[in-house]
């Protein structure tokens, strides 16, 4: 083999090595930040809090749906920006999921009232417990409840979908998408995060936060 050929063989992979993978455009996002007074609130879990600890009340398969919700959102993050795990002890939880209506309060309410004809079976509310120094007091609370018979398959499907939506709120998406095809639409009908939900969550976790979780209880 001539030296020129050998040099060419070596140079080819070096030249090809210069090429990078084409990253997807993440321009298609919706506003995820809540506005409180004149403040735009951007919350995300810091790496030191990962995995976020989620406890779900053992009613109407909520623990099972919590697991599938966590898995659905975990798949969104390729770089381990967010992760969660379900815990057995509510005293150690960062997020508590309970069955039932939320208690009255003055927190920001991130609600999903399923009142359209396709998913009238359940409703839920996420309470981030924000204080005026831009800290989220832990644990966050998610309340989820059936509007009709909780044992019905349609109601169970609604609980599963809605809990995935609420877990989306707990990870920092404090607003609803204006697009009906997104999971974070106020009255979602899709089972998992859409491409736009994914873009939004990814951009959220790479945007500086001005709200952080308070110390764990």
């Amino acid at each position: 083999m001539s030296r020129a050929k050998a040099a060419a063989m070596l140079a080819l992979p070096l030249l090809a090595a210069c090429s990078d993978i084409g990253a997807p455009s993440r321009a298609d996002v919706y506003e995820w930040r809540a506005v409180q007074g004149s403040d735009t609130l951007n919350f995300r879990w810091p790496p030191s809090f990962l995995p976020v600890r989620v406890w779900a009340e053992d009613q109407f398969s909520l623990p099972l749906y919590a697991d599938s919700s966590i898995a659905a959102w975990r798949r969104v993050f390729l770089y381990h920006e967010w992760d969660a795990v379900r815990v057995a002890d509510s005293a150690t939880a960062d997020v508590i999921v309970r069955y039932g209506p939320p208690p009255p309060g003055d927190d920001i309410l991130l609600e999903r009232f399923a009142i359209d004809s396709r998913a009238p079976e359940c409703q839920a509310t996420t309470l981030p417990h924000l204080d005026d120094v831009h800290e989220v007091h832990l644990p966050m609370h998610v309340y989820i409840a059936a509007r009709f018979l909780p044992e019905l398959p349609e109601t169970q499907a609604c609980l599963a979908l809605t809990l995935t939506h609420e877990i989306g709120h707990t990870l920092g998406i404090f607003r609803h998408s204006p697009h009906p095809e997104d999971l974070m639409y106020s009255n979602p009908t899709v089972a998992g995060p859409s491409e736009r939900d994914r873009n939004t969550a990814e951009v959220l976790y790479h945007t500086p936060a001005n709200v952080s979780p308070a110390a764990r209880p």
Binding site: M9, P13, L14, A16, G22, A71, L78, Y79, H206
Partner: protein, 198 residues
């Protein structure tokens, strides 16, 4: 019939001995360093990188001409995968790969041989969701230099430096809308024992 069997047996034994005399086996251990696996920009630079990984290499070569051999080389690496953005380092779990190269090598001189090869690298599925949620196999091209010197009656000490290149992507990346593939370069250094032709 008995004579035929004797001839076949003699040929087989003679052939095996001749083959053994011309065949070289080696086993090495070392470390492999990787260039960035994925470079991205999500409001800030994001990188997925592999840590320097312990490496095991086994191979064999057979003389095909006075100064040349052809053979196969199997390597396995096991290390960690992490992401880097801002000042965050996210643990992406373990990274386990195996590569199989068809190689040719030749004499450079002074106990040094060059080697070039073509084959595949296989990424085993990772622990859960993420870049390596499922396995993937990519074409691999590589080359390097081996140095050998007699150590024991039957064994040589062998030291090898390798460079290889492949284009990395995974089903998870494609599902997230990534296009093309990232050129990944690896360098490794390993030391071990070789037995066979000198």
């Amino acid at each position: 019939m008995r004579k035929t069997l004797f001839v076949i047996g003699w040929l087989a034994v003679a052939g095996t001995q001749r083959l053994a005399a011309q065949t070289d086996y080696y086993l090495r251990a070392g470390a492999t360093a990787w260039s960035t696996l994925v470079g991205d920009f999500i409001a800030q630079d994001v990188r997925a990188k592999a840590a320097v990984a312990p490496t095991l290499v086994a191979g064999l070569g057979h003389s095909i001409a006075t100064r040349y051999r052809a053979g196969v080389e199997l390597a396995a690496e096991s290390g960690g995968l992490h992401s880097e953005y801002d000042d965050v380092r996210g643990d992406l779990g373990s990274l386990r790969t195996a590569s199989l190269l068809g190689v040719v090598d030749g004499v450079v001189g002074g106990g040094v041989r060059w080697q070039a090869g073509l084959g595949f690298i296989h990424y085993f599925a990772g622990d859960g969701a993420g870049l390596l949620a499922s396995a993937t196999t990519r074409l691999l091209v590589g080359g390097g230099l081996d140095f050998r010197r007699p150590l024991l009656a039957a064994f040589d000490l062998t030291v090898a430096a390798r460079y290889d290149f492949h284009r990395f992507t995974t089903p998870a990346l494609q599902a997230h809308g990534y296009s093309g593939a990232q050129g990944v370069q690896r360098v490794s250094l390993s030391i071990g024992l070789a037995r066979g032709s000198r």
